[in-house]
Amino acid sequence: MTGIIASIIDGVLVGSVYGLAAMGLTLIWGVMDVVNLTHGSMIVAGMFGLYLLTEFVGLNPYAALPPVLVGGFLVGLALYWVSVHRMIGRPPLMSLLSTFSVNLVLIGIGTAVWGTVLFNVQVTLPGVSWGRYTFPGTHILAAVLTAVIALCLYLFLHRTRPGKAIRAVAGNRTAAELVGIPTTRVLSFAFGLGVALACVSGMLIATLFPFTLLSGDTYQLKSFVVTVLGGLGNPAGALMGGIALGLVEGLVTPFMPVSWTLVIEFALFVVVLIVRPGGVFTFRRS
C-alpha cells in the first residue's frame, strides 16, 4: 500500500510540471486559436537555457528561472512575428503548418550545433524519505515552483490590465478592438507568455531528468493530452489536467506493466474527447 501511495505522490509531483508545460500551449490556443507546434522545441530551449546558465555562467539551477522566463518571453515574441502573426484569423491548419515548419528548422539547427547527445544538470537537493521510498527534493521543489507560477499567472490574468486585456481578446477579439485594446500587441504578448511558460517548464524538467535535443517531442505530446484533459484554452484546467495525468500514471503502474501507461493515457485522451470534449476541468473559462 505504501508503494502505491508513494507512486501516486510522485506522479502528482511530476504531473504538476507537465501541467505547467501545457499551460503555455493552452494559453496560446485560448487567446488566438493557434496550435503552437514549436512548443516541444521551446521546452527544450528552457532545458538548454538551464544547462548553459549553470554550466557556463555558474548560476544556481533555480536562480536560472528568471532569466529563462524573460529569455523565453523574448523568443516567444520573435516567434510570434516570424511564424504566427500573418496566420492569425486564417484557418488553424495554416498556423499549424507554419509553427511545424519553424519547429523543424529549430530542431535542424540544434542538431547541427549540439547533436542529440545527452545533457545532465546536477542538482543537489535533499529529498524526503518515507519508509523505503524517497521523494527527491528536485521533484518537490519543481511542484512548489509550478504552483507559485500558476498562482502568479492567475493573478496576472485576473488582476492586471494586460492580463484582463488578454482575457478580453480571448473572449471576443472584435469587441476588444472596439473598446481600444491593441489586439496585435496583446496577441504577441500572450504568445510570448505562452512560450515563456513552456521554457520555464523545460527548465524545471531539466532539474529532474537528463535531456537531449529531441526530448521536447515527448513533453509536447503529454502537453496535448493534458490540454485536452483540462479543456482547450483553460490554463487553470491545464494545471489540473497535468496533476490528473500524473495521478493516473502513479495509480496505474503499481497494478500493470509500465509499458501500458502510454496506452492508458491515450485511451483517456480519446475518452475525454468523446465524452467531454470541453475538458474534464472546464468549470469556467479563464
Binding site: A6, S7, L118, N120, T138, P254, V258
Partner: protein
C-alpha cells in the same frame, strides 16, 4: 525545345550515380543516424569507420589480385528511422553502385537494411546491430562483427552471482527488439545461476520519467538491477535510481554507460556496470591492424575524442572487410563472403569468427564482451574500468556499488 533540354538534363542528373565509377576504387555504402535519437552511438561508429578508410587510403589502398583499391564511402542520413533505411540502401546499391555495405546503427535498422542487402546479394558488415534473430533468417551476405545481444549481460550475471549468489534482481528493459533479446537471454542466465528475478518489466522506448518503475523496483525489494535499452533512457534510469535512493547494490545498464558522456551524470554514474564490446584496457595481440593503444591514439588525434566500443567496432568492420578482400584476392562479393566464412582472427577488438551454420549464418560466435564499471580514479575523475572476467580485470569490482 529548351524546356525538354532542361528536363532531360535534370532527369539525367538524378538518374546518374552520385559518384563516378572508378575501377581502382571500392565504393562502400552505409546509412548513418546523423540526426535522431541514435545519433550519439552512430556518430562514434561512423568515425571509427572513417578512421579505417583514411588509414587504408593513406597506406595506398586495399591490395587484391595485383591491384590496389582506394576506399570511398557513400553515406546518407537515415534520421534514426527504419522507414528510411530500405529506400536509402536501395539507392546505395542501385544508384550509387556500392560494391559493399556497412550496416546502420541499431538492431531495428539492421533488420530492415538486411532485407535489401540480401535481395541484391550485397555483402554487409554489421558493427552496430546485436540482435541475433536477424541472423536466423537464412541470410547469406550478412556478417556480424560484434557479440550478439544474448550475451550482453552474461558477464554481469556471472559477476553478480560471484558476489551475491542470492541476489534479488529487477529486470527492467526497453520495449525494443535489441533490449528484449538481451533481457530474454539474461533472464534465463540469471535463473540458471540461481538468482531470483523479483521484477520483470519492459517500458516504452520513449519513457522519460522512470519514477513509477523505480517505485516498483523498491516495492519488489530488489537489490540488483539488470536492463536498460539505448542511450537516453539508460542514462535517465541511472540518474533516477540514484535520485530516488533505490538502495541497489548492483546496477548493470545496457549501452548508455558505454559512452564517455555518461560521466555527466556525476555521482549517479558511480558504480554502474555495463557490458562492453571493447575497452582499451583489454590488450589483444592483433594478427593484423593496429593495437588497441594505436587505435585509441589515432582516434584521439583525428577526432579529439576518446574511442569507445562503438568507434572500435566501426573501425573493425572495415578492417575485417579489408582482410577478407586481401585473403580472397578479389572484390567479387561471393569470394569475399567465402573469405569471411572461413575467417578466424584476432584484432585489437578481440577474437572474431562468423557462424557458417545455415540456421545462424553470419552470427558472431567468437567475440567476447567484458564488464566495465564506472569508478572514480585517483585524480577524482570518473572512468570505466574492466572488472569482469577476472582474466581481463583492470580494477577490482566494487560491490556493493554505493
Amino acid at each position: 525545345m529548351k524546356t525538354i533540354f532542361w528536363l532531360a538534363t535534370v532527369v539525367a542528373a538524378l538518374a546518374a550515380p552520385a559518384y563516378a565509377d572508378d575501377e581502382n576504387t571500392i565504393t562502400i555504402g552505409m546509412t548513418l543516424s546523423q540526426t535522431g535519437s541514435l545519433n550519439v552511438d552512430s556518430l562514434a561508429q561512423q568515425r571509427g569507420a572513417e578512421l579505417w578508410r583514411d588509414q587504408v587510403n593513406g597506406a595506398g589502398g586495399i591490395k587484391a589480385g595485383g591491384k590496389q583499391y582506394k576506399v570511398r564511402f557513400v553515406t546518407y542520413d537515415d534520421q534514426s528511422q527504419g522507414g528510411r533505411v530500405q529506400q536509402l540502401y536501395t539507392r546505395l546499391i542501385v544508384q550509387d553502385n556500392a560494391q559493399f555495405l556497412f550496416g546502420p546503427y541499431s538492431s531495428g535498422l539492421v533488420a530492415t537494411a538486411a532485407v535489401i542487402s540480401e535481395q541484391y546479394g550485397k555483402l554487409m558488415l554489421i558493427t552496430g546491430g546485436a540482435e541475433p534473430k536477424t541472423y536466423e533468417l537464412g541470410n547469406k551476405y550478412l556478417f556480424q562483427a560484434i557479440t550478439a545481444g544474448d550475451h550482453y549481460l552474461t558477464n554481469a550475471v556471472d559477476a553478480l552471482h560471484a558476489k551475491n549468489p542470492h541476489a534479488k534482481v529487477a529486470l527492467v528493459y526497453s520495449d525494443d527488439p535489441f533490449s528484449k533479446a538481451v533481457a530474454g537471454a539474461t533472464k534465463d542466465q540469471a535463473q540458471e545461476a540461481g538468482l531470483s528475478i523479483v521484477l520483470d518489466e519492459s517500458y516504452a522506448p520513449t519513457t522519460t520519467d522512470f519514477g513509477p518503475v523505480i517505485n516498483k523496483i523498491i516495492s519488489a525489494q530488489a537489490d540488483s538491477f539488470l536492463g536498460g535499452g539505448h542511450y537516453p533512457d539508460g542514462a535517465t534510469l541511472a540518474r533516477q535510481l540514484y535520485d530516488q535512493k533505490a538502495n541497489l547494490k548492483w546496477e548493470s545498464i545496457l549501452v548508455a554507460p558505454g559512452d564517455e558522456k555518461f560521466a555527466a551524470l556525476g555521482p549517479a554514474a558511480l558504480g554502474v556496470t555495463t557490458g562492453s564490446q571493447w575497452e582499451i584496457q583489454v590488450a589483444f595481440k592483433p594478427q593484423f591492424g593496429p593495437t588497441a593503444d594505436e587505435f585509441a591514439k589515432a582516434f584521439k588525434d583525428k577526432f579529439n575524442a576518446e574511442a569507445d566500443y562503438y568507434a572500435a567496432s566501426g573501425f573493425t568492420g572495415g578492417a575485417l572487410l579489408q582482410h577478407a578482400i586481401e585473403q580472397a584476392g578479389s572484390i567479387d562479393p561471393d569470394k569475399v563472403a567465402e573469405a569471411l566464412n572461413g575467417m578466424d582472427v584476432t584484432t585489437f577488438f578481440g577474437h572474431v569468427k562468423f557462424s557458417t551454420d545455415p540456421k545462424s549464418h553470419g552470427l558472431q560466435i567468437a567475440h567476447d564482451m567484458v564488464l566495465a564499471q564506472w569508478q572514480e580514479g585517483k585524480d577524482g575523475k570518473l572512468g570505466r574500468q574492466v572488472v569482469w572476467p577476472k582474466a581481463a580485470q583492470s580494477a577490482d569490482l566494487i560491490y556493493p556499488m554505493h
